[in-house]
């Protein structure tokens, strides 16, 4: 923040590289991995807004993703609404769900672990519901037809999805940068640091937290549409998977909560670790064991994540110079 000029140059260079990457990368596999990195970073950023900036950890972040995925998919398969419009319905439904969950939980003063667990319960509730009612396809799930085209947000090559994920990522970074520079962002951080003090100083803490979870919800909703159009199949266990809830908080905590680039850095590092681990051993579970250890180590020794590591050394350097 203190070096806006230099960091702006970094951002511009990074964006340029990302935009040109498909021309330099010939391997479809590598492009797919990058897409996945961006996608997870995007979801991580949605978690970061409520968890990292506002300090309200959720264990059920996947609920917005799943609801968005069902929204645009059902609109497409039952009403023929093209996903390029459906994605906005998904965003709307995600935000609406955020409003409901946020209002109910924050209204009754749920904080800390209780809030984390109640979001998990909401995600489970939605999974069971999606499994039991007919219009979601129940346990069988929903198959979408393959009909590539921009209006369907489907693409013939990985490059298309790569750019789609890049756009999502850039939007999420823009939201985070806006938070860093706006009153709303400052108020969220104040809530994270001390809710009573924030309230005393005129911050409408209930409203701010609800807005934050609505932004998270809207972002998650769009991610659901992305996923459904990329894989053309969703079912309740995928749409409301605990693993995805964990992944969004994991990348953010590893990279650095409450920072603009934390989720991206965390996503990059964890996916790289995962790919390397997969290269050597293909037994399931191993990379997740490593993730578990990383989570514990970061929480215990590096509460500001990898970004914090970088910042600390920079601060020490400043002190040495002085």
């Amino acid at each position: 923040m203190k070096l806006p000029f230099r960091s702006n140059i970094f951002i511009a260079l990074g964006l340029l590289t990302a935009m040109l990457a498909p021309f330099g990368i010939s391997s479809k596999f590598q492009l797919d991995v990058l897409t996945l990195i961006f996608f997870t970073a995007y979801l991580g950023q949605s978690w970061n807004i409520l968890g990292g900036y506002a300090g309200q950890f959720s264990f059920g972040g996947v609920m917005f993703f799943g609801t968005g995925a069902y929204t645009s998919s059902i609109l497409l398969s039952s009403f023929g609404l093209p996903p390029i419009i459906g994605i906005f319905a998904a965003i709307f439904m995600g935000a609406l769900l955020g409003l409901v969950v946020g209002y109910l939980s924050f209204r009754s003063g749920l904080r800390g672990s209780y809030f984390a667990l109640i979001t998990l319960a909401f995600a489970e509730l939605l999974r069971v519901l999606a499994n039991s009612v007919e219009f979601t396809g129940g346990g069988v799930g929903l198959f979408l037809t393959y009909a590539p085209g921009l209006y369907n947000l489907q693409f013939t090559s990985p490059t298309g999805f790569y750019y789609f994920s890049l756009i999502l990522l850039v939007i999420s970074l823009a939201i985070a940068i806006w938070l860093e520079r706006s009153r709303f962002g400052a108020q969220l951080v104040a809530i994270r640091e001390n809710e009573d003090a924030a309230e005393a100083l005129g911050v409408d803490t209930l409203k701010c937290k609800i807005y934050a979870i609505m932004i998270m919800g809207g972002m998650g909703g769009a991610a659901g549409t992305f996923y459904a159009q990329k894989y053309l199949y969703i079912d309740p266990p995928i749409s409301y998977s605990i693993a995805l809830s964990v992944e969004m908080l994991l990348v953010t905590i590893v990279g650095g909560m409450g920072t603009v680039f934390g989720p991206l850095i965390g996503s990059f590092v964890l996916h790289t670790v995962n790919e390397i681990a997969r290269h050597f051993i293909s037994t399931p579970g191993l990379s997740l064991i490593v993730y578990g250890f990383i989570l514990i180590v970061i929480i215990s020794y590096l509460p500001n994540g990898l970004v914090g590591l970088f910042r600390k050394t920079r601060k020490n350097k400043e002190n040495d110079d002085a």
Partner: protein
């Protein structure tokens, strides 16, 4: 159709009570740890899964009946719990409850995926010589394993209650739960008591695992099923309340079984998360909100 369902109701209730007793045992471990240490152990389900696997391998490899394994797995779980708190969670916890939640989340990821790595994702069940023998209640045949599990769970709950109310250890634990600084001042080794409590909480899971195995199955994700159930029971019974956990266990057991009967197996599961959400929102202190 409705009359058929209604005629099944008594059976559903009895079945629910049977499972409810084991749920209560699982929840008891969780509520005890919360009541004394004020931490939420998210790895509770994963630790139960570990106990189930222990009982499973004791049966498969050494041919030890799971109900006999209680005598092995329970103390082993205690040691595991004591160790992992004293030299793990206790050391790493920086104070914020969310951090502990995340650390135990990390632990559950490690345990779950280690199980996946070593034992594969297949569901395992066992069958005992008396698995299919049953007790005739007139309207219902109650299988022996269910009956034994029910009675044994109740006995363990009572033993735990006696431990907490009648022994010096119980007194020390309650002292620490109430006033940890005061307890420290009168010379109680608080860290030790914390670890003991955590150990007892995990020991409950050891016993529960042995009793669950003959009437359920085990796979690396079994724990997930029980996490929400246990948390629901604990918030229902009031965080830290032993009696509450017992009553909550029965309520949830019956709700699940009757709910499944009336709404169908799939939708019936809604009951638990719904109860959890409603209680947290409207009565976060629980229905029977007394403390340990």
């Amino acid at each position: 159709m409705l009359s058929i369902t209604l005629s099944l109701l008594p059976a559903g209730i009895i079945n629910g009570l049977m499972f409810g007793a084991i749920y209560a045992l699982v929840a008891l471990g969780l509520t005890l740890i919360y009541g004394v240490l004020h931490i939420i152990n998210f790895a509770h389900g994963a630790m139960l899964m570990l106990a189930l696997y222990s009982a499973y391998f004791l049966f498969k490899v050494l041919n030890i009946d799971p109900y006999v394994s209680i005598l092995i797995v329970t103390p082993a779980s205690y040691v595991f719990g004591y160790t992992i708190y004293r030299w793990g969670i206790g050391k790493l916890s920086g104070g914020r409850d969310q951090n502990i939640l995340l650390i135990t989340l990390g632990l559950s990821i490690i345990l779950e995926n280690s199980a996946l790595f070593f034992f594969t994702g297949d569901q395992q069940t066992i069958s005992l010589p008396y698995s299919y023998e049953s007790f005739d209640l007139g309207f219902l045949y109650l299988s022996y394993p269910k009956l034994i599990s029910f009675v044994a769970s109740l006995i363990i709950c009572v033993l735990l209650w006696m431990l907490m109310t009648l022994t010096d250890l119980g007194k020390a634990i309650r002292a620490v739960a109430k006033e940890r600084e005061g307890a420290r001042l009168v010379g109680i080794d608080v860290e030790h008591v914390f670890a003991v409590t955590f150990g007892i909480g995990v020991a409950c899971l050891g016993a529960a695992g042995c009793m669950l195995l003959p009437i359920f199955y085990v796979d690396p994700y079994t724990g997930n099923i029980f996490v929400i159930i246990a948390f629901t029971i604990v918030v229902l019974g009031g965080m830290g309340s032993i009696v509450g956990a017992l009553l909550g266990g029965f309520i949830i057991g019956v709700t699940e079984s009757v709910g499944g009967l009336l709404l169908g197996e799939s939708l019936g599961q809604i009951g638990i998360s719904l109860i959890f959400i409603l209680i947290l929102i409207f009565k976060p202190t629980g229905i029977f909100g007394s403390k340990v």
